[in-house]
């Protein structure tokens, strides 16, 4: 059984954490051992930390600080947890939730063995409602700037105001950008309430991943 090693990367507030958490839960539900790794180094106080215990109860190993362990909710620096550095050496699947920032895929320099791990896939999460990734040229430029991308995920949505047309428009833009970049579209992500309306494939035939919302609970 090959290991699943996936990193979710992309623009600020594009849905990286939501996709990473859901992917980890999906793998865990199939009985796999999953390590979920918090690699958000720019805005560390607003990520997986508040969800840590809840996810651990579902059998996932979460490599993240707990909010209460951090002084000032992350005010005092972006501390990398030592075991995060060696996460690829752990048994089981590894899902990395990478924060945004100007350094893009350079963040993998912090992970031992990332540069030569044959299984690591770096997936860029795209929401076309984000102003800087709204058009095909913007998405292409954004992905190229990141430095490494093995696939795109269409995560286009408008929060509570999302509709199917918007998701399909996202699929169109992401599909075209992926062709230009020469990388596959891994999936279109859809919130569970809209999932029945779209089926298991988007209009370009890319598989649909169904998301449960976790991140709103990650505040406070």
């Amino acid at each position: 059984m090959p290991r699943v090693i996936e990193a979710y990367i992309g623009e600020y507030a594009s849905g990286k954490s939501e996709n990473a958490v859901n992917r980890a839960l999906e793998l865990a539900s199939r009985g796999r051992h999953v390590n979920l790794v918090d690699l958000d180094l720019v805005e560390p106080c607003y990520t997986l930390r508040p969800l840590k215990r809840q996810l651990e109860e579902k059998g996932i190993t979460v490599l993240a600080w707990e909010t209460g362990e951090m002084i000032g909710l992350g005010e005092i620096g972006n501390l990398l947890r030592p075991e995060v550095r060696f996460c690829l050496h752990r048994p089981g699947d590894v899902i990395l939730d990478v924060g945004y920032g100007v350094f893009g895929a350079q963040v993998f320099n912090l992970i031992e063995g990332a540069d030569r791990n044959p299984d690591l896939k770096v997936y860029v999460v795209i929401n076309i409602a984000r102003p800087l990734t709204a058009t095909v040229p913007d998405v292409v430029a954004h992905v190229r700037e990141l430095g490494r991308a093995d696939g795109l995920i269409n995560n286009s949505h408008l929060g509570d105001e999302t509709n199917i047309e918007f998701i399909q428009e996202g699929a169109r833009i992401v599909d075209e950008a992926a062709r230009i970049l020469g990388i596959p579209v891994v999936a279109t992500s859809v919130m569970e309430d809209l999932a029945p309306l779209i089926g298991d494939k988007d209009c370009f035939g890319h598989p649909v991943r169904v998301l449960k919302r976790f991140m709103p609970r990650a505040f406070w």
Binding site: Y12, A13, E43, C45, Y46, G72, L73, G74, E75, N127, A129, R130, P131, L132, A134, H157, L158, G159, D160, E161, F219, W220
Partner: protein, 366 residues
């Protein structure tokens, strides 16, 4: 890249800090000065990402004193200049804003409140109300908009530039770390496409011509020789502030006629309050809300009118009585019981407000 950051309008999904950066761009702001502090950092980060594409400038200063005073410098040249800060940074910001108040310099400052006193926490609070409304060694001659959504942040950041330049009082957009980081959809737009005219700016220094020959030199002062001189200037400013206040004041009210309970809240807490009130009203309770949007100047007459039709008030805020103090001050002389739900530095849910309101409506709580 087009000359306009936003053509027409479009619906996007973003954080509150980004909404501020986009609004400043849309408003035609020319330069931002700032110093990093959580939770306002992404305003600077997005301004610096977007700015160069539209020939906008940025200076990262050595502290918030400098951020405030350089912003004043930028405004003096006739540019729409702004800064953003929070918490301890807001404390330092009061010195330059006191100068802006004294010299009627139309600075725009976005405050993303965080928990205090001192370094406190970084996400959530409404504890900078007193500081933002009345900070500095002055009389609080400033405009403070309290936002409660991303749309507010976008709309009122644009409006702040216009209010500042129209009335020449320093103008604040008061938000908080939760709104700063929260994600929701927002319609961003070119103000012109909405028929919003940006108030023209003008330089205070460096106008055309040689001073003393073609025009008088600008000698801008904040120091006075005798007390009467200061009083004269200040009286004029106060008179003008009072006179324009009715034009600036904004509020939102719901179900205020003959209520058993009127809930008063601002900012992000208003979101919870509105949900609780509407839920209880739908169950047949005589309950309404009053939300001051401008905390300075305060919608005094409107609140007094609503209060005169209410049996009791409930003030809800994530602070230990900062809004409460303003409310009491503005209701002086009215005989009405004022109840409170004060939770300094932490969030308040609709359920908590509903529970408190229900108890008050049932007369279970004195």
């Amino acid at each position: 890249m087009g000359s306009k950051p936003i053509e027409g309008e479009r619906k996007v999904f973003m954080t509150g800090n980004e909404a501020v950066a986009w609004a400043a761009l849309a408003a035609g702001a020319d330069i931002m000065y700032g110093y990093p502090i959580t939770p306002q950092n992404e305003i600077m980060q997005y301004w610096t990402r977007l700015g160069p594409k539209y020939d906008k400038k940025f200076l990262q200063t050595e502290d918030e004193l400098s951020a405030g005073f350089t912003t004043i410098g930028g405004v003096l040249t006739g540019k729409r200049a702004f800064t953003a800060t929070a918490g301890p940074g807001n404390v330092l910001m009061q010195e330059p804003m006191s100068m802006a108040e004294a010299m009627r310099i139309p600075t725009v400052v976005v405050i993303q409140q965080r928990g205090g006193p001192s370094t406190g926490t970084v996400i959530y609070s409404q504890q900078e109300v007193t500081l933002t409304c009345f900070g500095g060694n002055g009389e609080g001659l400033r405009v403070v908009y309290s936002t409660s959504s991303h749309q507010d942040l976008f709309d009122y950041t644009i409006k702040a530039f216009n209010t500042a330049w129209k009335y020449r009082f320093p103008t604040f957009v008061l938000s908080d770390g939760y709104q700063a980081k929260m994600r929701e959809s927002v319609v961003i737009y070119d103000p012109e496409a909405r028929g919003i005219q940006m108030v023209p700016t003008e330089p205070y220094v460096g106008k055309a011509g040689t001073p003393g020959k073609d025009r008088p030199a600008a000698h801008l002062r904040n120091t006075y020789n005798i007390e009467e001189e200061l009083l004269e200037v200040l009286s004029k400013d106060i008179e003008e502030y009072e006179r324009v206040a009715p034009e600036i004041i904004e509020y939102d009210a719901y179900n205020t006629e003959n209520t058993d309970l009127l809930v008063i809240a601002h900012g992000v807490v208003f979101r919870s309050a509105a949900m609780a009130v509407k839920e209880l009203a739908s169950q047949g309770n005589k309950i309404g809300y009053f939300r001051p949007i401008t905390l300075r100047p305060f919608p005094k007459e409107q609140l007094r009118q609503a209060t005169q039709q209410a049996k009791q008030l409930l003030v809800v805020e994530s602070a230990y009585g900062q809004l409460l103090k303003i409310v009491k001050d503005n209701l002086y002389g009215l005989n009405i019981p004022i109840k409170t739900l004060l939770r300094p530095g932490v969030g308040i849910t609709p359920e908590e407000i509903a529970e408190k309101a229900k108890a008050l409506l049932a007369g279970k709580e004195a």
